[in-house]
């Protein structure tokens, strides 16, 4: 969302500079007045907590010792950035983000094609694909935890190459797999919904034309359909990547960070909520915010998509 706004702003500014007529200037002024209340409200509910976190991150401050608050400058950041726990958690988070988004993109695209092309029982098929997304993450995490559980789960029984007494949550990578399966199952429908919107925008005429020119199904997919929905894919990947980077619920429910499956969000939660370390936790949340910004920036650069032009503004 925010990246959409930032890429649109230069375009708007450019227009404003070019526009010479009084009328367009008046329109701009009216526009500013109209958005002002929303912007002020947004600043109150988002900018204030962010600035407050930035301020708190410069202190050593425990909720259980409120009188011992002490200014420590950038010390919290130095501690975090030189700590192996932070980098280990960043690694976990990036692994989860890359793998889940990759799976979701492929499966989500297949689902989107099904939803787009299906001719019979359209409503039922679309609805059933979307059902997992309608389930609360915590609930789906519990469901998958029970499925993988050693005592009452069914996964061990269903997988022929896995022993009956295999403990999925007893080791790092099996636990990570369980977490990622739950994440993928839950959010693939969201991905397919975004991709379906992109798919609907690809004009049937170009696909027909490619067909007439003798392009195979594979060529049509790679040369016509995918390039035409690049913006939609980017939005889908961006949304999901940012969400996946902030993964919390699945880990909280399934492992509570045990077996070294902790994500950056979970680390932040533990510092602020469990250990009442408001200063250190704020530093972590500032770093989490910066990481998200960085990922968004890199993705936008990687896809080389101008969202303003994708929306037809230029």
């Amino acid at each position: 969302m925010s990246t959409g706004a930032t890429t649109a702003t230069p375009a708007a500014a450019e227009k404003a500079r070019k526009g010479t007529s009084d009328r367009s200037r008046a329109e701009n002024r009216l526009g500013l007045k109209l958005v002002a209340p929303a912007v002020i409200l947004m600043l109150l509910v988002t900018a204030y907590p962010m600035l407050r976190a930035l301020y708190l991150s410069l202190f050593k401050y425990r909720l259980s010792a409120p009188d011992d608050r002490e200014f420590v400058g950038l010390n919290n950041y130095v501690t975090v950035l030189t700590d192996s726990l932070w980098w280990g958690d960043v690694f976990n988070t990036v692994v989860i983000m890359v793998i889940t988004v990759a799976f979701e993109l492929v499966i989500g695209f297949a689902f989107a094609m099904v939803m787009h092309r299906v001719v019979f029982a359209r409503g039922i098929i679309r609805t059933s694909i979307l059902i997992p997304y309608g389930i609360i993450t915590v609930v789906s995490a519990f469901a998958w935890q029970f499925a993988f559980s050693l005592n009452n789960g069914f996964v061990n029984g269903w997988l022929p190459f896995i022993g009956e007494d295999f403990n999925w949550f007893g080791d790092k990578w099996p636990a990570m797999i369980a977490i990622m399966v739950s994440e993928i199952w839950k959010t693939t429908p969201f991905m397919s919904l975004l991709l379906l919107a992109g798919l609907a925008q690809v004009s049937e005429d170009t696909i027909e034309a490619a067909k007439v020119d003798g392009a195979t199904w594979w060529q049509r997919l790679w040369k016509v359909i995918l390039p035409n929905m690049k913006a939609a894919i980017m939005v889908a990947v961006l949304f999901r990547a940012l969400d996946a980077f902030r993964i919390f619920d699945n880990i909280f429910v399934m492992t509570r960070g045990a077996q070294d499956t902790e994500s950056v969000s979970f680390l932040t939660y533990r510092q602020i909520i469990e250990q009442f370390e408001l200063g250190m936790g704020s530093a972590l949340s500032v770093l989490l915010f910066l990481s998200v910004l960085l990922i968004a920036y890199l993705l936008v650069k990687l896809f080389k998509v101008d969202l303003a032009s994708a929306r037809g503004e230029r």
Binding site: F169, G170, E274, Q275, F276
Partner: protein, 437 residues
């Protein structure tokens, strides 16, 4: 909370229903406020959840029963449930108190967090007279857990301790004489021989550090000492006792006697494993007796917590619940009176018979009702364990210590002879604020 708010809200709505205009509405809410303040105060008691009452139980059970019996003409007590885990109870209470929540009049606090609450200034103080009255008949172990900076800061309500629970048939088969003190080593070997399990709490949570603390104290060591110096306390894990504890964890983790779910096991899963086909031995709290004695048809045995080092008396983990008074309560005087009633001998006896949470009052152990339910030698063992047990270090930094210990001692199969040293270094860094945990 929800129930009382609902009731109050419904009552208010009913009253407001009579009023037609906005002015009348405003007037009625003023009247409501007046009538509420002159009514007798309602004390809110944040409780830890009780086990479910037996199916044929009638009336108010456990803590709800105590709340009902301790309500007087002066005030009523209502209960609000906290989450199940001790750590989440602490989080919820702490966050509310940090926001000066005046709705907390009474609260059930795990003894290990009592110091933290008191140090933060979130517990109302007892007068000298009140301290004497509450301390009067209590067991020494229970009092120590409720004392911070030489003052009694909470009223010990019930005490808990871990015992070695075992199947008599399994011990017999292994030729293990449990009338004599046993060591961890003997226990693990006996379980290996009989292809049974030693069920303990091994999840990445506070309960596992309870086990570690007991192992280390059993070898004459401590996790930390010099608690009065706060953050500058001395880290003692890197000692012979710490190494001995690591040895036992390593032995268990590499043995067929461990539960397959050891790294995620807790009190409940240990109980289930013990009751299952491979059950043999279990370290668990006092309430096991009420739950399993009948089901195991005379096969349930009990003994004092196993020794870390042969010949050195074990230090059974102790726990329980203390009653604290919220520092921001509007009804402090009434709440202190209520706390005295809640922790009275009579209520402790009833609570012990209902839920298995053992009394902190010495004279309660002589009560007829308790003697009918528990064999006298078991009651004596409870009392002995609570009195001679090893409390967890009383410090506001317990939660930090727990997390630092878990960082190096979990999962169990990563524990080696170097774990004690590594965890000492790590804990020191964490306390200095140089490492994240």
């Amino acid at each position: 909370m929800a129930a009382t708010i609902d009731r109050a809200a419904r009552a208010r709505r009913r009253r407001r229903g009579l009023a037609a205009g906005a002015a009348v509405l405003a007037l009625s809410s003023v009247l409501t406020a007046c009538s509420e303040s002159s009514a007798k105060p309602v004390l809110t008691w944040y409780i830890n959840p009780d086990p479910d009452p037996p199916p044929d139980f009638e009336g108010a059970f456990g803590l709800d029963g105590i709340a009902e019996r301790c309500s007087t003409d002066e005030y009523d007590i209502v209960t609000e449930q906290l989450p199940t885990s001790a750590n989440e109870q602490r989080i919820q209470l702490m966050r509310r108190l940090a926001a000066n929540d005046s709705s907390i009049d009474l609260m059930s606090i795990d003894p290990v967090y009592t110091a933290e609450f008191s140090e933060a200034g979130y517990l109302a103080e007892f007068s000298e007279a009140d301290q004497e009255e509450i301390a009067g008949n209590k067991l020494q172990g229970a009092l120590e857990s409720a004392t911070w900076n030489d003052r009694l800061v909470a009223a010990p309500q019930w005490a808990n301790t871990q015992l070695l629970w075992y199947r008599k048939s399994v011990a017999e088969k292994a030729g293990l004489n449990l009338d004599e003190p046993v060591t961890w080593d003997q226990l693990i070997k006996a379980a290996e021989e009989t292809e049974t399990r030693v069920s303990v709490q091994g999840n990445k949570y506070e309960g596992y550090v309870v086990l570690l603390n007991a192992l280390i104290q059993g070898a004459g060591g401590e996790i930390v000492s010099g608690l009065g110096r706060g953050e500058e306390m001395t880290v003692e894990v890197d000692s012979d006792a710490g190494k001995k504890a690591a040895e036992i964890i390593e032995q268990l983790a590499g043995s067929s006697a461990k539960d397959p779910d050891l790294p995620v096991s807790n009190e409940g899963t240990a109980e289930a494993n013990f009751a299952g086909d491979n059950g043999g031995f279990m370290l668990n709290w006092t309430y096991i007796f009420l739950g399993h004695n009948e089901a195991l048809e005379g096969d349930l045995g009990w003994a004092r917590y196993p020794q870390t080092v042969e010949g050195e008396p074990s230090k059974p983990p102790t726990g329980g619940i203390n009653i604290g008074i919220g520092a921001f309560s509007d009804h402090e005087k009434e709440a202190i009176e209520a706390a005295k009633c809640i922790t009275s001998t009579d209520n402790q006896v009833t609570y012990a018979t209902e839920t298995g949470g053992m009394p902190t009052a010495e004279d309660a152990y002589d009560a007829e009702k308790l003697r009918e339910l528990y064999p006298p030698e078991l009651l004596a063992l409870f009392q002995e364990s609570i009195d001679e047990g090893g409390p967890r270090p009383v410090t506001p930094y317990w939660a930090t210590i727990v997390n630092a210990m878990l960082g190096k001692w979990h999962p169990q199969d990563s524990v080696t002879e170097n774990t004690a040293e590594q965890s000492a270094e790590f804990l020191q860094n964490v306390l200095n604020g140089d490492s994240l945990v």
